[in-house]
């Protein structure tokens, strides 16, 4: 089965202001219990606090969502085939098939699948497949305050994301896991001190 598309996202840390509008937007759009995109403050366990000593500080945010991995271990782990990788690259969790066994929760190296204790089912970001299928961009991308989220087809040489990838120094989360995430990150730009 040839994959025609690889839909993914680029998260620009330079533009992310840690506002969590993405988290709020996603939860409304998907009517989810938990947040499928979570904004971490890098280098500390205390949210929204900088690292370093006053006034030499850094504060960077890392929005984390399902990576829509090229090689998704979650898909293999699910005994019910509730997790599927689509031809366009989106990894879908179909709650109609999910039985709540939690196998995928352990399988995902990014710890990104959440469990809804109310209906006892797993849930995660489906890259807004319901919107993408209508030609719309993911809701978090539309609502991102800093315009830090870029969505597109990583295979298409003309797409905005491919263009960004070619010029910026990007990274993926946990590259050693061999999952090849479709979510890329741009590091904050170096400071131009006085």
């Amino acid at each position: 089965m040839s994959k025609s598309k690889r839909l993914g996202m680029i998260v620009d840390q330079e533009r992310c202001i840690g506002c969590e509008a993405c988290s709020v937007a996603c939860r409304i759009e998907n009517n989810s219990k938990d947040f499928w995109i979570k904004v971490e403050t890098q280098g500390t366990s205390v949210k929204d606090t900088p690292v370093g000593k006053f006034p030499d500080l850094t504060l960077n945010f890392l929005p984390r969502l399902c990576n829509h991995c090229e090689n998704p271990p979650c898909v293999d782990s699910c005994p019910e085939d509730a997790l599927q990788k689509r031809n366009d690259g989106i990894v879908i969790l179909d709650q109609d098939l999910c039985t709540g066994c939690k196998a995928c929760l352990d399988a995902c190296p990014y710890n990104i699948i959440v469990f809804d204790e109310n209906n006892h089912l797993a849930e995660k970001c489906n890259l807004c497949a319901h919107r993408v299928d209508k030609g719309l961009e993911p809701f978090c991308v539309l609502c991102c305050e800093g315009q830090a989220l870029h969505f597109g087809d990583l295979y298409d040489p003309e797409s905005n994301v491919t263009k960004i990838l070619s010029k910026d120094n990007v990274f993926q989360l946990k590259p050693d896991e061999g999952t090849n995430p479709s979510i890329y990150y741009i590091r904050p730009k170096p400071k131009r001190r006085l």
């Binding site: 330079e14 533009r15 202001i17 840690g18 506002c19 969590e20 509008a21 988290s23 709020v24 937007a25 939860r27 409304i28 947040f35 205390v46 929204d48 606090t49 900088p50 690292v51 370093g52 000593k53 006053f54 006034p55 500080l57 850094t58 504060l59 960077n60 809701f139 539309l142 609502c143 305050e145 800093g146 315009q147 730009k189 400071k191 131009r192 001190r193 006085l194």
Partner: protein, 749 residues
């Protein structure tokens, strides 16, 4: 597409955020229920946006705690016990009380406390019109944090706001070489209209400097962060000016043309030297020292070109100096060493900063209210503007783009031309008016779009001395806020999705806040409440057409020609653009018509120059202090002041009030993360959770403003703040509350 058949899309706009962001919102409606909100289109697609508060607006509209019908107090004030009444009963109670009180004390004793209407215009205008018709008192709420900036701006620019002069071009996406973000945190307070452009500017190549006592999210994006002590901004400004003058880097041409820098000051009286002092023809003319003729001359277009900026001159036996010389003399005291000592900023950094500002091709100064909420915050702004002015970085004309829209306030301010209008009093002066009848007694108050008790200084004073003196309190509200609990009558108002208003924001647009659904329960818009009350008071003819009539009234201004209520229903409209090559001068409303680096009218107050005067309470200088810590309050992205504090979807991310404490202060007090601590001073004890954070420097505590009183374990933020009036601000415009100038101590509970 069956879904689309049932779902109606209506464009409206969110007025919540003090007008600046003012996001266009596309509401999806099924029947009379809004099912979804998303960012609406703008003529320029880069302006399409929404913030996390706008996103959860439906949680306000459909909040289970909404006040659903008019209610009359049945318990004690503050107890929160009310009973349902009808609108007719409510109007009856109001009319009876207003009659009684006005007969006893005059209509003047009835005040309308109008808070921040956000970008809303007619809901504000309606009250002004009724206040004008009844000649009652309009209580201006600039003073609950937002009067310091206008005070400073009025003195130096002669204008309420400094924005167009300092960063109008930035709003037009013309990005400078250097952007100074001073005393404001747009990442949380104006994420879309301002912060997005900061990020765009950085991408464009602008170097960004942030001056702020807190290491904010905005600071984290800066190329250089200047972490000064709170309230020391004017010392920093003087230190910067000293570097600029010492290196002879000031922009002489600009100073001569646009400021009063060359005007001669009499050293004996501190006043400007005038024609009459030297027997010149024009007695009121300002005088300059004319370099080539080596003689004084009356100010004129030509004489100023050759005027001297420095030196001391004896004229008719009067010692005189040009304003710039006087400013240089003051600045020379602020050596990098001394400035560093006062501000806590590294001295080499001050030198580098001064040189960079003076040598960059263009510098824009992005600023707002935050740093002006200290006792001398108005002078802090003047210091910043002085730096901009002596380096030629004040914008003096709009050379392209959109002419700012002027709202037609006159029918609201003066409902009947030729007849007297309302009386006006500042919100901080209101304390005295109510408590001691000074300058005159206020006996009844109507609060609209304001959470007075929660958001104003010195809560205990309000509860113990202020409320008991009032004979009648009305509040229009969506929720039983800490303030509404003290009302005698609560009137239910709509959320912004249930009524229409005209919004002249965000620059360069105007928008219609279009009614999306009919008002829920028995709620009404403020404008319609006022219109109905006016009818009961015999002024109905001035409110014909209700909401819509008022919108047409305020839009009747030449700047909105061609824009109608109808045309705004589907899209925001841009204000008219200037023709190619045309330019629109930004005038200065000061006595001299120039940027006044020196304000002679404040000489007796010791504030003719942007002097550094230490904070009134903040213990920033080391020494013996009963309360050794400075309390400041930042803005939280989760709230617009006290709005959204009761929204569960945001409380999930940010559940309770916290106080940020620097690790050094925490350690000496044995406080760790998540400990429950009490912040206290002579006024109150406030108990809440601690967060250990380097975002505040040692000696500073930060509690974000807007949490409701009942969300604290004890006290609240404004139980700790003071209501001391700065008499100079009182004289210039209106005194401000100084919430960032407060002394406290903290201990583990």
């Amino acid at each position: 597409m069956t879904e689309n058949e049932q779902v109606k899309l209506i464009r409206t706009a969110c007025p919540a955020h003090c007008g600046i962001d003012c996001c266009g919102i596309l509401a999806h409606v099924k029947g009379n229920r809004i099912v979804k909100l998303e960012p609406a289109d703008f003529p320029d697609e880069r302006d399409r946006r929404i913030c996390l508060r706008g996103l959860v607006s439906l949680d306000i509209t459909y909040h289970p705690d909404r006040i659903k019908y008019p209610m009359k107090r049945i318990g004690e004030r503050g107890e929160g016990k009310f009973e349902r009444i009808s609108w007719e009963e409510a109007y009856g109670i109001i009319v009876t009380n207003f009659k009684e009180i006005s007969e006893k004390y005059g209509w003047k004793s009835i005040g309308w406390v109008l808070g921040g209407p956000g970008a809303g215009t007619t809901k504000f205008g309606a009250y002004l019109r009724l206040a004008s018709l009844t000649q009652s008192t309009r209580v201006s709420a600039w003073g609950y944090g937002d009067a310091g900036l206008p005070c400073g701006s009025r003195v130096i620019f002669g204008h309420q706001f400094p924005y167009l002069y300092l960063f109008g071009e930035f709003w037009q996406r013309k990005y400078p070489e250097l952007l100074m973000i001073w005393g404001t945190n747009p990442a949380e307070s104006m994420p879309l209209q301002n912060m997005r452009k900061v990020l765009d500017a950085k991408e464009y190549g602008t170097q960004v400097i942030v001056v702020d006592p807190r290491f904010t999210v905005t600071a984290s994006k800066a190329d250089e962060y200047i972490g000064l002590k709170p309230g020391t901004d004017s010392a920093l400004a003087l230190g910067i000016m000293n570097v600029i003058f010492q290196n002879n880097l000031h922009d002489k041409e600009f100073i001569l043309e646009h400021t009063n820098g060359a005007y001669l000051v009499r050293i004996d009286s501190g006043k400007m030297l005038r024609g009459k002092d030297v027997d010149a023809k024009k007695p009121e003319a300002y005088m300059v020292w004319h370099e080539s003729s080596n003689f004084h001359k009356a100010l004129s277009r030509t004489s100023v070109k050759e005027a001297s900026l420095t030196g001391t001159y004896m004229i008719n036996g009067i010692e005189c100096k040009p304003v710039i010389q006087v400013l240089m003399d003051l600045a020379s005291e602020y050596t990098p060493e001394k400035t560093a000592e006062i501000t806590g900023v590294n001295k080499d950094l001050i030198v580098k900063l001064g040189k960079r500002i003076a040598t960059a091709e263009t510098v824009r100064f992005l600023t707002h209210m935050g740093f002006t909420r200290t006792y001398h915050g108005d002078i802090s702004l003047r210091g910043l503007i002085s730096v901009a002015a002596i380096t030629g970085n004040v914008t003096t004309s709009v050379n392209s783009g959109h002419v700012p829209g002027i709202l037609n306030w006159s029918p609201f301010l003066k409902a009947i031309p030729g007849k007297p209008s309302f009386h006006r009093i500042g919100i901080l002066n209101l304390y005295e008016a109510v408590i001691s009848s000074n300058p005159y007694p206020i006996k009844a108050l109507w609060f609209a779009f304001i959470n007075f008790l929660n958001q104003c200084a010195n809560a205990n004073k309000i509860i113990e001395e202020f409320y008991p003196k009032l004979e009648f309190i009305v509040q229009t509200e969506l929720f039983l806020t800490p303030s509404a609990r003290y009302a005698d009558l609560i009137l239910p108002v709509c959320s912004f999705l249930e009524f229409s208003d005209f919004l002249a924001q965000p620059y360069p647009y105007v928008q219609l806040q279009q009614k999306v659904i009919e008002p829920l329960y028995e709620s009404k818009s403020d404008a319609n409440i006022v219109a109905e009350l006016a009818e009961h008071l015999g002024f109905g003819e001035y409110f014909k057409g209700g909401e819509e009539g008022l919108i047409d009234l305020i839009m009747a201004s030449r700047s909105f020609e061609g824009i109608t209520r109808e045309t705004l229903k589907t899209q925001a409209r841009k204000l008219p653009t200037l023709p190619e090559g045309a330019s629109f001068p930004l005038s200065f409303g000061t006595p001299s018509g120039k940027i006044e680096l020196y304000a002679e009218q404040l000489y007796e107050d010791g504030e003719a120059l942007p002097v550094y005067l230490p904070p009134i309470e903040a213990p920033i200088t080391p020494g013996e202090n009963k309360y050794p810590l400075t309390l400041v309050n930042g803005h939280s992205r989760f709230r617009t002041h006290s709005m959204f504090a009761n929204v569960k979807s945001l409380l999930d991310l940010n559940p309770e009030p916290i106080v940020d404490i620097n690790p050094i202060d925490a350690e000496t007090r044995n406080i760790s993360n998540n400990d429950i601590v009490t912040v206290f001073n002579d006024r109150a004890r406030t108990t809440l959770k601690a967060r250990i954070s380097e975002s505040v420097q040692p000696g500073i505590l930060d509690i974000t403003e807007g949490w409701w009183i009942e969300q604290f374990k004890e006290g609240s933020l404004n139980h700790l703040t003071h209501d001391i009036i700065n008499p100079v601000q009182d004289k210039v415009y209106e005194p401000n509350m100084h919430m960032n100038d407060v002394a406290v101590e903290v201990e583990k509970k």
